[in-house]
Subunit: 218 residues, 2 copies
DNA sequence: ATTATCTATAGATCTATAGATAATGC
DNA sequence: ATTATCTATAGATCTATAGATAATGC
């Protein structure tokens, strides 16, 4: 009780942060499996035993790293302002360009997440599960955004449409992220614009046709 | 001279293959950095010194692994049959569904490639560069396919169109690949269909508008 | 007393090589 | 002689812990 009031000395908090940041940096270059406590210890300047004092083990450390870097990353995401009156395609283009620009300027969190997604030994680290949850949350967020764009009537009539468009949006932006990491010199803003146009078409298209979709009864 | 005629004993060839395959399997779970010669040795049953007999070092081993698994993967790709008369959108949908199905049934090579793409320590392993080259080749392949779909007149009038559509196609399929690896239970064939429809729209759309693109003078 | 850090270390794992041994092909 | 494998090992790196030391807060 009141454990938190005996303020851990500020020094302790700071060491913990240094460890988290060193781990994040190394994991970003080498992935989960390539990151060792020894390397973390070397980079943050604290002995390995300090790492074990702050974190039970590597699994625990990484779970905290994901949480910590996710919080930081969330804060960098641009606020989404509805701007009434703007045509849907413009809204789409602006948002997607912002997303892609954000990936390019601070790719660290998402890159680590995707590395965790691709690495997959049998006993899965907590960090991987945690990132997958974050990713699902992000997709749900994109889905709500699509529901907003489509409007309540459409959402009621075609309950799966926003879901599929959100999945499509996530897939496409993940793919553009990969391209930016591969060093492909693509014109990412232009491709984001293309994606916006494509999505706009798909939304219009779907509404023009009957909801023949046999899965449209959730 | 004639070095290759003194047939390396079949045993040697087989050991080499076992090492390559063991490395491929482990790298698929743990990435480049997570794969150690010791683990490879344990999995293939040969002592580490045998690995060093066949390969100079880890960098060399991985470069060969990429080559070897790429060759195997290429052989699994479905032949692309033009099927004259089929509408473009059908062609697109069929091809993309086949691509996505291929990813789902044998994701190993592409997964390893993407892991190499995301890991990026300072002195980049040869395998990473090699995969990036393979990826560029694949995009060029998709671009030629788009040129075929669009026809020579369109290609002459809008030289960048096929390029952009190819990049878009690659990004979207990479994103769907990530989704399949993340264990998202998405309806991938349906999303491939959606992608086909979107791409079809974009192609039509671009032709309806003038080639205002300032970059359209290669 | 509590919190944080340090030194020291046991034991595991890993890289890379030296050098012995075996098998094959002339 | 050539090709392939093995045993053995030096030395590096790594994980995880024990236990001493220091600083802080009552």
């Amino acid at each position: 009780m009141g454990r938190k009031t005996d303020r851990a000395s500020a020094q302790g908090e700071q060491s913990r942060r240094r460890i988290l940041e060193a781990t994040f940096e190394i994991a970003n270059e080498l992935g989960y499996e390539g990151t060792s406590i020894a390397k973390v210890s070397e980079r943050c300047g604290l002995p390995a035993s300090s790492v074990y004092w702050h974190f039970r083990n590597k699994d625990d450390l990484f779970a905290e790293v994901i949480q910590h870097s996710f919080d930081a990353w969330l804060a960098t995401l641009p606020r989404w302002e509805p701007e009434p009156g703007t045509p849907r395609r413009e809204l789409l283009a602006a948002r997607l360009r912002a997303t892609v620009a954000g990936y390019a300027s601070s790719p660290e969190f998402w890159r680590l997440g995707l590395m965790l997604t691709l690495e997959h030994k049998l006993d899965e680290p907590t960090a991987r599960a945690r990132f997958r949850q974050i990713r699902r949350d992000m997709i749900a967020r994109v889905e709500r955004w699509w529901q907003h764009l489509l409007g309540p009537d459409v959402v009621a009539a075609r309950p799966h449409l926003a879901t599929q468009l959100a999945q499509f949006t996530m897939a496409a932006t993940d793919g553009l992220f990969i391209a930016s990491q591969a060093g492909d010199d693509w014109d990412l803003p232009a491709l984001a614009g293309l994606l916006a146009a494509g999505l706009d078409h798909l939304a219009t298209d779907a509404l023009a046709r009957p909801p023949a979709d046999p899965e449209d009864h959730p």
